[in-house]
Chain length 243, copies 2
DNA sequence: CGATAGTTTGATCCGCGTCAATTCCAGTGG
DNA sequence: CCACTGGAATTGACGCGGATCAAACTATCG
């Protein structure tokens, strides 16, 4: 991140005062301090946003749909994916609360967005959202920070997709999950399917399954239930991740 | 691009007047109008920048070096790459004049940058560059637009790396080159090596070479010299690119 | 023209995809 | 509480695309 936390929320001279309302579906209370809105703490700007819910598997929008709206996730998990003409799919990322989507192109969405778990989002008309950028430079800064973070993640993923073996891909995936989850006894509840994981890692479901079994037999992880992973040797996973 | 050209350079109310000098190595004249600098037309902000040149093959910085500086390319081509511990390489992108690099992380560079051709750049101390962001919101807007464009490109590349065959990758690469070069008789001069192309497409030099030969035999392209490509059937390339 | 790096081509091998068959499990109804 | 059911996950057998190893060829630059 080349925009550190200290900068986000730092009162720049050019920022003016404003009011912000509470979004009816946001649990997180928006923050309005000295003319600066911290989107870290308030992903949803209620004045011009409308709430919506999605069930698991529901599609928010498809690749190539007209990009009329911009969204932020307030709860649950979404997956973004792109398709080839014959149906091969690549999942480019998973979104969590606070993430934005639909910004990349003004014309049409460049990926599909589908709910992995039940999801709550805030919807903004694109024009209104762009208006917010003008009003609130801090929002722009936060977006820039997020874009930089996502770009870094995308480059790591390119390395994985272009150069890593199946075992390294799965080990990387698990190690990253473990790192992100923090210390919860190394237990990770994963709602996505093997197909989602496979499409994210650029391999097949069969290979995901085989590789998980192999990692289990090597004592690096345990899989009590298909969607529950237990990290037994984090260092071993990192060592197996290739980089 | 979700920040259209019209917005870049739009005079925001909060922007103040400033002076800007001509960079001694920039050929493009910086533009100072009504307190707004259009980085599209002036990638180099001379007041706080220093120029530098790189020969082909010279390394600007390595992955994991302390990220003390930020750069913009003013001429030539750079390649960005990431390494695995055993030396496998992934090229994440090629940079052209006007592109920025070194912004992603405040701590250390997350990729190596190496000159593909002789290159001229402008160097900024990181802190000074971040200061510019505060001063010139238009610069921030432009960066945000670029970040969005790069993110979209990265997602396309993830689809390529995760799901396309070798033939589709090479066809995609050539079709994109042809599209970007515009109508120059379909002739493309490429300074990068087969290894660079291979590391960009996530395959080996041998496979690049074989695939190029195959495309040539199929009458889609011609290769008078190793670094000169002639597009004979653009539509055929697009058809062979998979998406 | 010789030296050297880059490119092409060939032969072989293997990791992972493909196809197919169970097995597992969450949800449903009896 | 248990049998039933359909989708998800696992496991197995086999083949292929592209990696690897090796050698010949060809640009480019002193």
């Amino acid at each position: 991140m080349w925009l550190n936390k200290a900068m986000v929320g730092h009162p720049a001279a050019s920022v003016s005062r404003f009011d912000i309302h509470r979004c009816e579906i946001c649990e997180v209370r928006p923050l309005a301090v000295c003319g600066v809105v911290s989107i870290e703490q308030s992903p949803c700007l209620a004045a011009i946003a409308r709430g919506a819910r999605l069930e698991s598997g529901e599609v928010l929008f498809h690749e190539d749909d007209p990009a009329k709206e911009v969204f932020t996730v307030t709860s649950g998990m979404l997956k973004l994916s792109k398709l080839l003409s014959d149906g091969r799919r690549q999942v480019t990322g998973f979104l969590l609360p606070g993430d934005y989507l639909g910004l990349a192109s003004a014309e049409r969405y460049i990926y599909s967005a589908e709910a992995v778990t039940p999801v709550r989002i805030c919807r903004f008309a694109r024009a209104a959202f762009l208006g917010l950028l003008e009003q609130f430079p801090a929002l722009e800064k936060a977006l820039l920070g997020r874009a930089a973070t996502e770009l870094a993640a995308a480059q790591k993923q390119m390395l994985l997709l272009g150069r890593k073996t199946a075992r390294e891909r799965v080990a990387t995936f698990l190690a990253e999950l473990a790192a992100r989850a923090g210390n919860q006894g190394g237990v990770i509840e994963l709602s996505m399917t093997r197909t989602d994981i496979a499409d994210y890692l650029g391999i097949t479901t069969e290979t995901v399954s085989r590789t998980l079994t192999s990692l289990r037999k090597d004592g690096l992880i345990d899989i009590p239930r298909p969607h529950l992973f237990k990290i037994l040797q984090y260092s071993g996973l990192v060592a197996a991740s290739g980089d």
